[in-house]
Structures are given as C-alpha cells and as structure tokens.
Symmetry: C2
Subunit: 199 residues, 2 copies
DNA sequence: AAATTTCCTGAATTGTGATTTAAGAACTCC
DNA sequence: GGAGTTCTTAAATCACAATTCAGGAAATTT
C-alpha cells in the first residue's frame, strides 16, 4: 500500500482519464481499472460515483485554466500574450485529454445543472482572461480595438471551444495550426495588430 | 394500428426527441415511450438500437440544415441573407431540440467515428452555405471582405456552434439576442457591411 | 511488535436495460 | 370476410454494472 490517502488523490486524475476516454457514461470499473484498483476501493473513498465525477471534472477544468495562466507567466508583450493564449486554447490533437473532457461535458450540461455551472464558470473565467490581455494591449497602445473587449473576448473563447470540438471529431482539414490561424485572423481584425505567428 | 410502416417513420423523430432529452445514453425504453409503443416494437423495426440512433441523428442534422436553407428562400439581398442565416444558426433557447441533439453528439464524436463524420459533414455544409452568401455579397458589391471567404465562413459556423453550447448550458447573460449580436459583430467586421439588426 | 486504524479485495446482492420469443392483434389483399 | 402477412405486446432471458459487505492486508500508533 502507498501512503495513506494516496489513492483518493489519484482517483481524481484516474476519473479524468477514464472520462476523457469513455465519455460521460464512463463505468465505475473503468475508473477503478485506470487507477489500478477494484471498484470497491473507489467506492470506499467516494461512496457515490457522481460526486467523484463532479470533483474530477471540476479539478480538470481548474487545471486546464491554470495551465493557460501559467503559460503566460514570462510574457509581457500584449500581442505575444494574446497569441500564446490562443495557442493554449486549442487542443494539440484529437487525443488531447483536457479538451476531450470538456467536450464530453458539453452535451451533458444541457441536462445537468452542476455541469452547466462548471462550464459556464470556465467560459466566463476565460473571457476575463482575454479581456485582461486586450485591455493591457489598449493601454500600451499595441491594440486598437474595433469592438468591445467583452465582444472580442467572448468571440475568442467561443472560437476556441468550437474548433476544439471540430478537432475532437477529427476534421480532415482543421488541425492545430489551421485552428490557431483561424482564431488569430479574427484577433487581428478585432485588435488591429498584425499578430505575427512565425515561431 | 395506423398505416403500415407508420411506426418506422415515427421512430426517427421519437429517437431524436428522446436523445435530445436524455443525451447519448438514451434508453431503448425512453425511445419506445416517446413513440408510444413498447421496446419490442422498436426492436422489430431496428433490431439493433445503434442503427436507429445513427439514422435518427443523420436525419435530425439533415432537417436542421434544410430548415436553414428554406429560411433563405425568399431573401435575395446578401446582407439580409447573412443575417437570416446567423439567426437560424443560434438555438432559440436552452430547450431547442435540434441544437440539443447536436450538442449531445459533440462529445460522442471524439470516440465514435460515425458521429464524427456526421458532424464534420454538417460543419462543412454550413461553411459552404456561408461561403455562397459571402461570394454573392462580394459579387453584388455589398460586402468588402477583410478575410478569405473560407476563413469568415468557418469562423461564423464555429461561433454559432460555440454559442449553441453556451445556451444549452443556460449561460445567464448569453441569450438568443446576445449570441446573434456577437456573431453579427464579427460578420460586420469581416464583411465591412453594417448588417443592421433592427427587426 | 502489538494494537489500532485505515484501506482494499472478492464474492454476493440488487437493479437495470437490451434482446428474444411465443402469442395475439391489426392490417392488406383477394 | 377470410387467408395471409405484418406488426405489437408481455413475459422471460441474458448481460452488465453499481453497491454492499465480511474478511484480510497494509499502514500508523503506542
């Protein structure tokens, strides 16, 4: 046995992985197997599975958002920050586990108010993140906005989301680079900044 | 009993409704009850449920797309066509059955290639629809595009999709009107046309 | 290292849902 | 309106998954 309480922490990431693979109809046994234990062990820590799934999704979203914030850490130029944020908002490929999790939840939110709340809150936080970057760019004179920051920010997040879904569905001509380019093209129009992509 | 073969046709819409309500994990009994028959009757026409679900989704998407095309029937002005198309691309509310169906499928597409294909094909058809409108507007001189038609069209469809998900999740400040306005704002920027919304 | 607590397993239980089947009802055709 | 076909039901079957539980293993405490 590992240290006390070790499994309980692992269960969150195990549940995330299992749900990314099997969707919202993930089985208890699939989570258990992902964690390398039996179903009973899972139930010992989370007597009802719903709570585990909820916490797993909550923590998965928090990690997704935190990672995006971290990726901005060393960048001060507003244009570079904007590009970087767009880059981290698009899944790397159809297997990206974080986005898979989010997409799996999207449909569920229509009939589960808890998940709806989680997704809504994530959306709003991401909008705020973009708004901050846009305002910083305006203040520094780098951006000349053609629309409200709330409009631009919402549309940017919306584009990320939608292209995430397209990539999960393995669209043949919409890979990571095209999706980033499409979103950046909108950002260029809205900010009046050339936002160079060459990396 | 109704006319021969009547149930089989009804099953498609019954399955659509049941799936819009219960998601991809919809039960055979829920479909049967929606159709007003027992599970056995459903299985008589569709020996395996998967095929029924697939056909139901296929026909649901086709209807969604066809309805949008029909809504354009009497409109010849490119700007009016563009606005009208955006209007029919956003769900009327969180209960809109067509969009619920589409959203339910979104997460499933990550692990079901058939559904992935359906959604990809719908996306592409909608992109083509927008491209047609944009080109018409360019030809008539109404639009002065700031981006490729493919870029604008893809972003418009992406925005529709994403705001559809937000509305399904009952975002508190993103209703039908706001979503349309957000998308139209992008369209204005991209087409150089004021696209007046007052109706 | 013994005692205690925490943790985990494997089998049994219970519930749910898809699928099969036999029988009967409803429709069509003549 | 009767024969034959198509359709539908209700009960039985089968499979699977969540949950419970008694027993034992592993960590922690003393």
């Amino acid at each position: 046995m590992a240290r006390r309480g070790a499994l309980k922490a692992n269960l969150l990431v195990a549940a995330q992985r299992a749900m990314a693979e099997h969707g919202t109809s993930v089985r208890l046994n699939q989570i258990a197997s992902e964690a390398g234990v039996t179903a009973g062990a899972v139930l010992y820590h989370y007597p009802n599975m719903q709570e585990l799934l909820f916490e797993a999704n909550q923590s998965g979203m928090a990690r997704f958002h935190d990672q995006r914030l971290e990726a901005l850490a060393g960048i001060s130029d507003p244009a570079a920050r904007l590009i970087q944020t767009i880059r981290t908002g698009v899944p790397e490929g159809p297997e990206d586990p974080d986005v898979r999790l989010l997409c799996a939840l999207g449909g569920e939110a229509a009939r589960n108010n808890l998940y709806a709340l989680l997704l809504t809150s994530l959306f709003d936080r991401q909008v705020s993140m973009y708004q901050g970057i846009l305002e910083m760019g305006v203040a520094s004179g780098a951006f000349v906005l053609r629309q409200d920051t709330i409009t631009i920010a919402r549309n940017l997040v919306a584009l990320e989301d939608a292209y995430g879904y397209r990539m999960m569905a393995k669209h043949p001509t919409l890979g990571y680079d095209s999706a980033v380019e499409l979103i950046v093209e909108y950002a260029r129009l809205a900010t009046g900044h050339p936002l160079p992509l060459e990396k």
